[in-house]
């Protein structure tokens, strides 16, 4: 299939949805950075990243995705190496060592690792026989677990949490028995609970404050311990709640949200951009964006459902889970349904690595949609 035909056959709705979400993201990044001279250039940078991502994404669609299969483990190895070398070559920002500094920009290998894990899992799980036993799930668990652990060590709790759902979803679609998945989920849940005791102090405090906040009312907001929490680790999520709640049905209007404009909302262009969306476009806008994200994920799952070839299908399932989970976690963090942790909303939040990987992921899915029935000699079919 020629490249042009592939482009023509790619799922136009998914492409349109992804583009719409990215444009909305660009609008709100602009809104979130408009008032602060320190961040004035971020919207332009994001636009540039989107352009580059879109260009490279088109390139990705042109190359038949089965070729990726042959390079899946190389990609995984590169991603793993990038994570492993961070302690030596990475730089520390806000106490976390998550980035490599390259001339003119930073690279966050954990974002690349998400895509690499999806590709690697898809490559491994494309043989159905490998997914049907509990033992067969051990290697996939390792494939996702090792990078997740390395990301957790950076520390980046939010990103590390995304690997689990991707693993479970891909194994589930690959045909893993429910019992095995329940065991795996149970183990993951136990690990999650136990991790509380090995978390960094600040992470533990975030969890404690999150638990406390359910007891806060107007009557006890003035209490010294609550005020201390609101000035400390509770500040960001509380300000995000104020932004969201004050948005009402229709919001304050683009670039008009006081929490955003007046800088009360920290990390508003990346980790809390959904709060800006809520404040400025209200419940209607927030549900609209979530709806668009949901449609995007649904579109991706539809591609997966229509793809007979297992590698491609699992790839798309992984992409859908990655985009869906990360968006949900981001929204849940903004609404403080889960403890605060920094995780960008794919295609919406500012972030070069995050945006590039999200666009590439969608491009891979489009690639699969363009080649729903490829010929993969000797590979396991359904």
């Amino acid at each position: 299939m020629s490249g042009v035909r592939a482009l023509a056959r790619a799922d136009g709705w998914v492409a349109l949805l992804a583009l719409t979400v990215a444009l909305i993201g660009g609008l709100f990044i602009r809104s979130a950075t408009l008032e602060d001279p320190r961040f004035g250039s971020l919207a332009a940078k994001q636009a540039l990243v989107l352009l580059i991502a879109a260009g490279s994404g088109v390139g990705l669609i042109l190359v038949p995705y089965p070729r990726l299969l042959r390079r899946a483990w190389w990609l995984y190895a590169v991603a793993l190496a990038a994570l492993l070398l961070l302690p030596w070559f990475g730089i520390v920002i806000n106490g976390a060592r998550r980035w490599y500094r390259l001339p003119g920009f930073y690279v966050q290998p954990s974002e690349l690792a998400k895509l690499a894990v999806i590709v690697a899992l898809a490559a491994w799980l494309r043989f159905k026989s490998k997914a049907t036993t509990l033992d067969g799930l051990l290697l996939p668990a390792l494939i996702a677990g090792v990078p997740a652990f390395l990301v957790l060590r950076q520390p980046d709790l939010g990103s590390s949490l995304v690997f689990g759902p991707i693993l479970l979803a891909m194994c589930f679609v690959a045909g893993a028995p429910l019992r095995s998945l329940l065991v795996l989920s149970g183990l993951a849940a136990v690990a999650l609970v136990c991790s509380y005791f090995v978390l960094h102090d600040y992470q533990r405090t975030r969890v404690d404050v999150w638990l406390q906040h359910f007891t806060w009312t107007d009557d006890n907001l003035g209490r010294a311990d609550v005020q201390a929490a609101l000035r400390g680790y509770g500040f960001q999520p509380w300000q995000a709640l104020i932004a969201i709640g004050s948005g009402g049905m229709a919001g304050f209007g683009l670039e008009q949200g006081p929490q955003n404009r007046y800088g009360f909302l920290p990390y508003r262009f990346d980790d809390y951009i959904f709060a800006v969306v809520c404040e400025e476009s209200g419940l209607l806008g927030a549900l609209g964006l979530l709806g668009l994200q949901g449609c995007l994920v649904a579109g991706l799952l539809r591609i997966a459902a229509r793809t007979r070839e297992r590698f491609g299908r699992l790839l798309v399932v992984g992409v859908a889970t990655y985009l869906g989970t990360q968006s949900l976690v981001h929204a849940a963090v903004c609404t403080w349904l889960i403890p605060a942790t920094g995780l960008p909303m794919p295609l919406v939040s500012y972030g070069g690595s995050s945006t590039l990987v999200a666009v590439w992921a969608v491009a891979l899915a489009l690639n699969v949609s363009a080649r729903r029935e490829p010929v993969l000699a000797s590979d396991g079919y359904l």
């Binding site: 045909g175 095995s180 969201i244 049905m249 006081p258 929490q259 209200g282 459902a305």
Partner: protein, 754 residues
């Protein structure tokens, strides 16, 4: 096509289940959003407003005090207050960072974490810096100590490097993450330290920079003390550090170090703000007297003007009154915007916050007059603060204005004082020290306006005298012979109107000391001189201050007439002519006691008054009407006529003229030349100490009275009389008036210069 999977699902079904699994949390989030944004919208909107709406007070400039010509006596000038935010200081200033980092290091070693202090000495900042440089490098690489401690130590080490090398804390962290300098080696048997890892050059630079920071803080300490602060910078820093254990939250409260920082120091602090984390300048105003603080050539006027001081905690009631006055009903309603989206409770809360803001304004910045004119005219001078409801951003910068209550600056107050005349009076008081206390007053005899008022001794700087020798009297305020003109007036009036009296022609002659026997007294009364037949001449008896004349006058006039004589001067309590206050200021009430023998009362014993009372009475002799004393031109009632015949008044004036020309004041140089009419008085206030009150009172000029005066030296030794003690003081003032062309033209027109 449905195919059997491991769990009994086909792949399509599994994908649908996956979609459902992703949709479910999405629905939970959507429901939570609906709850927040619709169900609880009002509450969150209110919190959003509370985040950014803030009332900001605008201090009112206090009205200036002016003299009669509009020359400034006291006014507000911009100043700067210096405040400390201790948290920022200990986390940002290299000195604070070193001390706290060193204490953490001590804690890591198992020692007390209160070893290093923000004071000079063995465990002061220098020792703390040395301790930081000796930090084991491994600790800063998260090895050998608990992770939490290592993290905190890294923070302080990075802040120290970043602050001293002026590279910022994040680059300080980078420096810690970089490998040690080439050739870095630990001392034998010791671990590699921070200093070893940084290298000798960097350590030398750090040490020099730290020493520089210490010097800067030392200078600030001096400046803070120089600004009149009760505690110096170091003292406050250490105190705040100690409070961390008891009240950790207190470090977030701004502590005012100095309310009035010198301008050059303030500029230095402002220009080097990044070098002084935690120290903030706040614009404020300061009350200055005569433009220059502490000037002493107008010292008693300064004390009379009073001082302006901050509100105290005890002034709570006064503050509440002020708040209610500033934010009366409609004003407050206008300040609080109506928003239909917000509950009424929010409006009520906003109103409460507005009140709290104004109350806080008075507590923190409010000033009130303490003593003197500043207190008496506080309501006029103070003005009302303004209040603005503004939107602020997270950095507390104003982004919008919702409503405003315009500030009402205090109104200027033009007093009756003549600054130049006052200066001459102050000079004369300094040049003629006499007795235990001295006081003098010069007033306009036509209006009662006080032109100059002075006394000695003065209050300590910053202190207020509630009872000054000019408005009260220190021990005894007996007026002595300055009372005689009024007894004479009553004698002449009684003769003219046919009231009971004894005619002077029938008076016995003056035989000097103990020459006038009085029934009931074992020892006869007498006179300081032997005036002979002058005791029968009203004019000369006044000029020579012959007591014998007045004994006989009092005997003939009777009790009522004598009281009327003193009431005419405003010296008897409860008389219509009495003046007990001076526009809200304390003024001693004259006393008149009938327990004293009537004859002695006729010569001023039994009556106590201050210089203002006496000057006022002599103003009445000058103009024929008793004025009301005043310090503000527009204030006061019309003078009250003396109700005596002009010829009688002329006789009293003749006596006073003769007193200056050849009587008891004849030795006071220059009075006659200035056409002064005056009377001396010497009241023996204690037979035990033989101390006298020496008085001198009068007016000038006879034809056109422009100044009435009274001066007194309290408790002068026996032998000193009014003319010498108080007369020379007044003469000095009047000669200075004569020398000053402006004052000469104003007060003694037609009289040549000296």
């Amino acid at each position: 096509m449905r195919r059997a999977g491991g769990g009994g699902f086909g792949t399509g079904a599994r994908i649908r289940w996956l979609g459902l699994a992703l949709a479910l949390p999405g629905l939970v989030i959507a429901a939570h959003l609906a709850l927040l944004m619709v169900g609880q919208h009002a509450a969150w909107l209110e919190r959003s407003y509370r985040n950014r709406w803030v009332f900001k007070d605008v201090p009112a400039r206090r009205g200036a005090l002016l003299d009669r010509d509009g020359v400034l006596l006291a006014d507000d000038q911009p100043a700067f207050a210096l405040s400390l935010h201790f948290r920022e200081f200990r986390r940002g200033d290299p000195v604070g960072v070193a001390v706290h980092g060193a204490n953490l290091a001590a804690k890591a070693e198992g020692l007390t974490d209160n070893r290093y202090r923000l004071v000079r000495g063995a465990h002061g900042p220098r020792a703390a810096f040395a301790r930081m440089m000796a930090l084991p490098w491994a600790w800063l690489q998260r090895q050998g100590i608990p992770a939490e401690l290592s993290r905190d130590l890294r923070f302080y080490a990075a802040a120290l490097l970043g602050g001293l090398l002026e590279i910022g804390r994040s680059r300080g962290f980078q420096r810690l993450d970089a490998p040690p300098v080439a050739g870095a080696a630990a001392a034998p048997g010791a671990p590699l330290t921070l200093a070893d890892a940084l290298g000798a050059d960097d350590v030398a630079a750090l040490r020099a920079a730290f020493a520089e920071r210490l010097i800067e803080l030392e200078r600030l300490d001096v400046a803070v003390r120089g600004a009149g602060a009760r505690r110096g910078l170091w003292q406050v820093l250490e105190q705040q550090r100690q409070r961390l254990w008891l009240q950790p939250e207190a470090e977030d409260v701004l502590f005012t170090l100095a309310r009035r920082l010198e301008y050059d120091v303030a500029v230095r602090v402002a220009l080097q703000a990044e070098r002084h984390p935690g120290l903030t300048l706040q614009p404020t105003v300061q009350r200055y007297f005569g433009r220059v603080p502490g000037r002493d050539d107008l010292a008693s006027l300064q004390a009379f003007v009073g001082i302006v001081r901050p509100f105290w905690r005890e002034d709570r009631e006064a503050i509440d009154e002020q708040v209610e006055a500033v934010l009366e009903g409609p004003v407050l309603a206008g300040l609080v915007p109506r928003n239909p989206d917000l509950p009424d409770t929010f409006q009520q809360r906003l109103a409460r916050v507005a009140r709290q803001r104004v109350s806080l304004h008075y507590q923190l910045q409010g000033r009130m007059g303490k003593g003197g004119l500043e207190r008496a005219f506080d309501g006029w001078l103070a003005g009302d603060p303004g209040l603005r409801l503004v939107e602020k951003d997270r950095r507390a910068q104003e982004r919008g204005l919702w409503s405003a209550l315009q500030v009402s600056p205090g109104r200027p107050l033009r007093t009756t004082f003549d600054l130049e005349l006052q200066r001459h009076l102050e000079d004369a008081l300094d040049a003629n020290p006499c007795g235990t206390h001295m006081a003098a007053a010069l007033i306009d005899p036509r209006t009662g306006e006080i032109r100059a008022l002075g006394w000695r001794p003065l209050p300590a700087p910053g202190e207020t005298m509630w009872r000054t020798p000019a408005t009260h009297w220190p021990k005894s305020g007996m007026i002595g012979s300055v009372a005689k003109p009024f007894v004479l007036l009553e004698q002449l009036d009684a003769m003219r109107r046919g009231r009971p009296h004894q005619a002077p022609i029938e008076f016995r002659e003056c035989g000097g000391k103990r020459s006038y026997p009085v029934r009931g007294l074992t020892r006869p009364l007498g006179c300081s001189g032997t005036h002979g037949a002058l005791a029968t001449d009203p004019v000369m008896a006044l000029a020579k201050s012959c007591n014998v004349f007045y004994y006989q006058a009092a005997a003939g006039l009777g009790e009522g007439a004598l009281r009327r004589a003193f009431a005419r001067a405003g010296w008897t309590p409860d008389a219509p002519t009495e003046q007990t206050s001076l526009t809200g200021m304390s003024l001693a009430r004259c006393t008149y006691t009938t327990a004293t023998l009537r004859e002695q009362r006729a010569i001023g014993y039994g009556t106590q008054a201050n210089v203002l009372h006496v000057a006022r009475a002599y103003a009445a002799l000058a103009t024929g009407a008793l004025p009301r004393l005043r310090v503000v031109a527009a204030d006061g009632a019309a003078p009250q006529r003396l109700d005596v015949h002009p010829d009688d008044l002329a006789a009293a004036r003749a006596g006073m003229r003769a007193c200056v020309n050849g009587g008891t004041a004849r030795n006071v140089v220059g009075l006659a030349e200035l056409l002064v009419l005056a009377k001396t008085g010497t009241a023996e206030i204690s037979t035990k100490t033989r101390a006298n009150n020496a008085w001198f009172a009068g007016y000038l000029t006879e034809a056109r009275p422009t100044l009435a005066f009274a001066a007194v030296a309290y408790s002068v030794p026996d032998g000193q009389h009014g003319a010498e003690a108080a007369g020379h003081l007044i003469a000095d003032v009047l000669r200075a008036v004569q020398r000053d062309p402006t004052l000469r033209e104003r007060y003694v027109p037609g009289v040549g210069g000296e």
